[in-house]
């Protein structure tokens, strides 16, 4: 089992580590979904999780901001450190954690509210703005970062559900950005989008890495190659290989990684 998990080749000192996972196990009831995962995720970098369906990449992603807490039968073991602090420590409030580790989901899920209220929701619950003017400012800044400001600035009162799929997803990204997180988790953010919308979102991800550590789960190897600097390959709950994206795609060390990227498994 240990052999499956490679040593992290990238030095911790070279760049700032954001997340560090040690021997992480995740169980769904009796099902052992994640086995002995060890990984160091860097700040201001896009990290891609790839692997066949059901390999556990989304499950692992969801344990990084304790979204798995909302599933009663799910159990996480091992240490996950954010800036050296254990996120599963008893004194940690998941609510506070999730404000630091934002998340964007597979299907765009705008709230049934106006575009403005969708963005303002996070800042409001976390008390980030002292008055209306500050809130307006946050909303505008977030929408600009979400690369959707120009499209919606004239109709901020329109319902968020009325936007197109690509716009909805960028709205959701802007919504996540509005709470000023340090890490952004993205669970297949483009799987429900058409190619044009996908291109827009990918462009956005590239910009986001200036400020955030971005972790993206994707089914598409091309997408991983396009947007990420680091790639982790998951297979049957194991982290098979983790390295620079270029290395993974040009010179994988593990035969399973090679089979996957050449299309023989998956």
């Amino acid at each position: 089992m240990m052999k499956d998990n490679v040593e992290n080749k990238v030095g911790v000192d070279a760049m700032n580590t954001k997340f560090s996972a040690k021997d992480v196990q995740v169980y769904y009831g009796d099902n052992h979904a994640i086995k002995d995962v060890n990984v160091e995720i860097l700040d201001k970098t896009v990290t891609a999780f790839i692997g066949p369906s059901g390999c556990g990449k989304s499950t692992f992603l969801r344990s990084l901001n304790r979204m798995n807490d909302t599933i009663p039968i799910c159990r996480v073991e091992g240490d996950i450190l954010l800036d050296g602090e254990d996120i599963n420590a008893p004194q940690v409030d998941p609510v506070q954690l999730r404000a630091k580790v934002g998340m964007v989901f597979q299907k765009p899920n705008p709230f049934p509210k106006s575009i403005y209220d969708n963005i303002a929701y996070g800042p409001r619950i976390h008390g980030l703005a002292r008055n209306k003017a500050e809130l307006d400012e946050i909303v505008e800044k977030s929408l600009r970062r979400g690369a959707i400001w120009d499209e919606v600035k004239d109709r901020l009162d329109a319902p968020g559900t009325g936007l197109s799929g690509g716009q909805q997803q960028r709205l959701c990204i802007a919504r996540a950005v509005a709470t000023e997180p340090e890490v952004l988790l993205m669970d297949e953010p483009c799987s429900a989008l058409d190619p044009i919308a996908t291109a827009q979102v990918e462009e956005l991800i590239d910009e986001l890495k200036q400020n955030y550590s971005v972790i993206i789960v994707t089914h598409s190897m091309q997408q991983a190659a396009r947007v990420s600097q680091k790639t982790a390959f998951f297979h049957l709950g194991n982290l098979v290989e983790y390295d620079d994206t270029t290395t993974i795609f040009t010179n994988p060390r593990d035969p399973r990684t090679e089979s996957y990227i050449t299309g023989r498994i998956g």
Partner: protein, 487 residues
């Protein structure tokens, strides 16, 4: 022939048709397999055509004939004998009893069948009394002659009925039987017949609605002929008196209904809604599987039980607290029956109604919506209040409207728990009454159905029907729209 015997004759004809039709089809070909349909279908085809049209005709005839006959006989009664339609209907029921009595007398052999026509009005009461038919007063010659007319018309009608029904049955039989051959598409015919039966069953729902509307409408129109509609809708006094000079204003009743419903909803909506939220968002499977069915037991308890609970338990309890010399010493409450009593108990009854409807609706809100909120660092209650509830709001409004319509139409709790006095008051500890309670009290007395005091119940029923219908249509529309949103 009496309808029952006629029915049996037609049934026998149908069974014979089944046997004959089947054998004719089988013998018409050399190999049974070459028949278009299975042999049974040929038999069923003949039986169906012999039976169904004849029996339908019989059923219609049995209902319509008495109406036609009494319409005819009614013209025999001179107009001098009655003042209004109510009196006429009393005379007509006398006529019917005399006619029935003469039938009984002939049956028992007290009068010879031929002698009936020569009966003398003065002796009829005694004669009929002898066979156990008691009449309220002496029979007038007009009534007797009308009764005799009634008998002869009925006898003629019965005779024609027998002939016509038998002719129809035999005609159906012959048509189907002579048409039976190996190539007849018997199965299609039988299935067509069954389909008509199915459609008829579905139409009963429409007929029920039509029946409700007509029975309310005709009597309401009759009522407004006797009592001005404006006084009914805008009158602020409800004081029926069967001696005449009633004041029948609906406003106090509407106010009582509304007040009780508001209290009921004020109890049921917060409790039901919070229970639904807790059960669907927080509760573990254990609590859920235990609390949910228990709460739903409240919905399965008949309303008479709640009525008794209001009258005998909650009412006295409230008097102990709010009454004269009660715990609070406020003396607001005079008796156990009050708006508060009925409202509280009705609220308890509506809790499971609100909670299970809201539960369904909250569960229909997609999980992705909740995940989106949790992902932003919202707590569970923030998610519920700011994301789930706004998303579920239309559905919940629909559920509350349905509960309101339930509250407005509820009868037993208010009949037993709210009191009988119609008044316009703001004190919830006073007895008031509702539309439904007054429908019951106006129609359960011995009142004559043609008086405005009884007819007003139909106008009340009409009002109730229209109000609840509007609420239901609106609620169903909202709930439907809501469901479509997430499908």
């Amino acid at each position: 022939m009496s309808p029952l015997i006629l029915l049996i004759v037609v049934l026998v004809l149908a069974i014979a048709g089944y046997v004959l039709g089947r054998s004719r089809a089988v013998s018409s070909v050399e190999d049974v397999r070459t028949l278009h349909s299975l042999p049974n279908f040929y038999g069923m085809n003949v039986a169906m055509l012999a039976f169904v049209p004849a029996v339908l005709l019989l059923a219609v005839w049995v209902i319509v004939q008495p109406m036609v006959v009494s319409g005819q006989v009614r013209s025999d009664i001179p107009e001098t004998m009655y003042e209004n339609r109510g009196a006429l209907s009393l005379i007509m029921s006398d006529v019917q009893r005399v006619a029935d009595g003469i039938d009984t007398a002939i049956e028992r052999g007290v009068i010879a069948a031929g002698d009936a026509a020569t009966l003398d009005a003065s002796g009829v009461r005694a004669t009929l009394g002898g066979v156990g038919v008691a009449l309220g007063s002496e029979v007038s010659p007009e009534v007797l002659s009308a009764a005799l007319d009634y008998r002869s018309a009925t006898a003629t009608g019965d005779w024609i009925r027998t002939v016509v029904v038998l002719v129809v049955a035999i005609a159906g039989f012959l048509y189907a039987y002579t048409g039976t051959s190996g190539t007849l598409r018997a199965r299609n015919r039988v299935e067509g017949g069954v389909l008509i039966l199915l459609v008829t069953a579905a139409l009963i729902a429409i007929l029920t609605t039509v029946g409700i509307i007509f029975s309310l409408l005709f009597n309401t129109i009759e009522f407004f002929r006797l009592y001005p509609a404006t006084e009914f809708f805008f009158g602020t006094t409800w004081a029926p008196s069967f001696g005449g000079g009633s004041q029948l204003g609906i406003l106090p009743l509407l106010w009582g209904t509304l007040y009780i419903s508001i209290i009921a909803l004020a109890v049921a909506v917060p409790i039901g809604l919070f229970a639904a939220i807790y059960l669907s968002e927080y509760a573990g499977p254990k609590l859920r599987s235990f609390a949910k069915p228990l709460l739903e037991v409240l919905a399965g308890i008949p309303t008479i039980v709640y009525g008794l609970f209001a009258l005998l338990t909650v009412g006295p309890l409230l008097v102990d607290v709010f009454g004269n010399g009660g715990l609070l010493g406020v003396g607001w409450m005079q008796g156990g029956t009050a708006v508060m009593t009925a409202g509280l108990v009705m609220g308890i009854m509506l809790i499971p109604f609100v909670s299970s409807l809201s539960d369904d609706i909250i569960n229909a809100v997609p999980q992705a919506m909740r995940d989106g909120s949790y992902g932003l660092g919202a707590t569970q209650s923030e998610t519920i209040k700011q994301v789930v509830m706004p998303a579920a709001l239309p559905g919940i409004v629909g559920a509350i409207l349905l509960a309101a319509s339930r509250a407005i139409g509820e009868t037993m709790i208010v009949v037993l728990g709210a009191g009988a006095a119609a008044r316009l008051s703001l004190n919830p500890f006073e007895a008031m009454t509702t539309v439904t309670a007054k429908i019951v009290s106006q129609l359960t007395g011995d009142a004559d159905f043609s008086s405005p005091e009884a007819l007003v119940a139909f106008s009340l029923g009409m009002t109730l029907f229209v109000v609840t219908l509007c609420l239901n249509v609106l609620a169903l529309y909202i709930v439907r729209k809501y469901r479509e949103q997430y499908e």
